[in-house]
Symmetry: C3
Subunit: 246 residues, 3 copies
Amino acid sequence: MDEALFNSCSMPEFIGAEVCDTIGLVIANIDPELRRRMDIPERFGAVGLIGSRTGAGAQIQACDEAVKSTPAEIVSIEIPRDTKGWGGHGNFIIMGSENVADVRRAVEIALDKIHEYAGEIYISEAGHMEFQYSARGGEAVNKAFGVGVGEPFGFVCASPAPIGFVIADTALKSAGTELVKVLRPSSGTSHSNEVIIVITGEASAVKTAVMTARESGMKLLRALGSEQHIGFPPRLRLEAATRTGL
Amino acid sequence: MDEALFNSCSMPEFIGAEVCDTIGLVIANIDPELRRRMDIPERFGAVGLIGSRTGAGAQIQACDEAVKSTPAEIVSIEIPRDTKGWGGHGNFIIMGSENVADVRRAVEIALDKIHEYAGEIYISEAGHMEFQYSARGGEAVNKAFGVGVGEPFGFVCASPAPIGFVIADTALKSAGTELVKVLRPSSGTSHSNEVIIVITGEASAVKTAVMTARESGMKLLRALGSEQHIGFPPRLRLEAATRTGL
Amino acid sequence: MDEALFNSCSMPEFIGAEVCDTIGLVIANIDPELRRRMDIPERFGAVGLIGSRTGAGAQIQACDEAVKSTPAEIVSIEIPRDTKGWGGHGNFIIMGSENVADVRRAVEIALDKIHEYAGEIYISEAGHMEFQYSARGGEAVNKAFGVGVGEPFGFVCASPAPIGFVIADTALKSAGTELVKVLRPSSGTSHSNEVIIVITGEASAVKTAVMTARESGMKLLRALGSEQHIGFPPRLRLEAATRTGL
């Protein structure tokens, strides 16, 4: 592994690379036929791309912040079946803006924020979990999960699926939350081995629900025989230090 | 790896963990909104969950026995695209019963039986195979594969798909079997790299067909350059001892 | 690893095994019920199977040559979600012919050609890419991708998806190409983490476009922190020597 290779590239499209194999790119003048086939509206003179092999909520949250802080908008959010051999998703997010400076700034912000949100992705040898919370979900969260813009957003996800189901139940038994969406292997996911819920409600209740689910998930995933880790750089996933004291 | 972590958990929902990263859980009083969204009928006061990263037939057979021996019933069976980087499926099975004691017993029985049925999952570096046979398939087998309740059930599965196709042909050329279902990458599977057949017929004929297919599959999978293994604990998959003398 | 195991098998159906876990098989007299369920026309007395865990374009190109050189025809092409833990596809291709000698020859030719086409599959720790070009696509390319028989064919594929999108744009900005198809995680793929384009046009323009895309892709994939490799035998994927001087 040549460290000098990482996060450096002579291509003008390249903005940066981050944990979870997240890459950030821009295209100033997209080919017109490609634009048409990818359903990118004409008003977006430039597009920004965020995508990774691992994570979905984290990159969506990071892009949520990016479009809150810039004139860029979300064009599309896709969640392929990925996670590099684990049971979940990767992501592919297209943002657009009239000029390239705005969307470049949006991609930079998203890359900057991914470290923080990816800290709530936990991977063990047996499975994985992801948790997200925002007091006010924005355009990306709305587009991906149907939470009202400006509303609190909670995301609880675990694999294998039975763990996801039990911690979804734990979260929903917390007072003051409302279920927006359930995703399961046969519907809503890309055939991933997860149960995922998206919740809203009173902000502090949503946060408590997500944290309660996380605590239960830690115990259950650990019962499959290996410790989960967080905040992994792309090539050190399972060797990363365990976070303690949640 | 801390062995003490494995198969022990303070959560009341936790029943046990087994080979193939199989976990068994119960929920005594499921959240009403989650119940509605997951299509769990009201008559089931409690649900039991079995799911794993690897295997489908094995866990379905184990749950088949569980609902034969208890008042619990099968609510749903899902087969995510998983197998921890291999070309097949994991599974997520929900059982339900009026009271929690019954469904807990069902989960315990299923966990108890998984070792036996997972013994017919074979994984090599190149691909995998799974074989199942029952003289009298029950509710789970019926729900998952459309075999009549009480009828003989045979399951022949291999990845990569061409091997699955050839051993399906081998099985069906055995006298006295009847083809119930074919699953392939583009239909019936979650885009897995498998051909799977489900057969019925005269019990001894079905058993012979499955065993004949297994013998052919062993030879073909081995031709891809690595030995297959069985009965793997979740973290020792490829290091497990080879079973000989099939 | 016992080298003697590899590419040798006593089954009459076995023709050979190749890189990317590609296996080539024939069935002389397919079971009639299996034939019906797999939609294999009666006029094909024998079927030949090519499939692998990794690659799609490579095996399709190899089968394209096989059916150009023999009376065998393409019956079906499926692309499961696979690549052994990477973000892409495997493949499962059925060819048919009136007599077994013709389809056996087709499988032999395909196996023979896979080494060459698989040389344009690049895999790093972070992602992968595949490139294909033919001056005159045949029946397999037509069936899989909708390129007119006899027309130039270019194939540009990368994972994670944002890299695929940028190099698709690069390819299409080359003069003289025409976009036939775009595949992305939510449409056209089996939920893979890729953007793939299929192009046609003037032959030398298509070739230049694919090579330009490849050059960009190399730079972008490398920016995720690991070097890509090629021409990998099935068990040595990431240890293979790097090809230089593209």
